[in-house]
Amino acid sequence: MASELFEIVEESIEVGDVIKKVERREAGAITTFIGTVREWTQGKQTVYLEYQAYIPMAVKMLSQIGDEVKAQWPDTIIAITHRIGRLDISEIAVVIAVSSPHRKAAYQANEYAIERIKQIVPIWKKEHWTDGETWIGDQLENVPYKAGKPTIKEIEG
């Protein structure tokens, strides 16, 4: 069961399935983050996206994020599912669900998780526009690291 809390999948993600993994009688608050494919980014129209992952390491890093969350917010339970392959506009790329007895921790842990995903989980997206395509990260604006390359400290958390 615990190993299924962190998944990389190729089919579409059901938000409710991810929520179910964290539901429990002692939790009064569940937060979810749903990342979807946005049509417009800085004036450029996306037609579809392609996500690629280094799957075994991605699952391992998601699980590491789970450990980090557990250390900081001991009462929470977190589940993360990230989809790869071709995604059309509005389709769900990632769902993060966190349950907690109290809401503050549920928000904080959830936001922490998405920030960490963008730092340490080996997943890449390729934008397909009407007039071309490119892998995001290197060439474009949304390199997730302040210094253009992550420091070991950012990676080790």
Binding site: P56, A93, I120, P122, I123, W124, K125, G137, K149
Partner: protein
């Protein structure tokens, strides 16, 4: 033998997703230099490296049997 995994634009530059190299011992830095002599991979200087699914620094030793993956800046989420 060392296995090298390539992703995203690195994979497209080289035209395949893995390279097998008959090397017994090396370091991340030496491996990058070696690959750049054979493949069009100038970006290798700017990407992270994972050895056996763990992030590794340039001076990390690599031995036969290890799986090395180059991790371009991440854009998931």
């Amino acid at each position: 033998m060392i296995t090298v995994l390539l992703f995203a634009h690195l994979q497209e530059s080289v035209g395949k997703d893995r390279i097998q190299l008959p090397i017994e011992r090396t370091t991340v830095k030496e491996l990058k230099t070696e690959l750049q002599q054979t493949y069009p991979l100038p970006e290798l200087d700017r990407v992270m490296t994972a050895v056996n699914e763990e992030f590794a620094k340039n001076d990390r030793l690599i031995k036969a049997g290890d799986v090395v993956a180059f991790i371009p800046p991440i854009s998931g989420g």
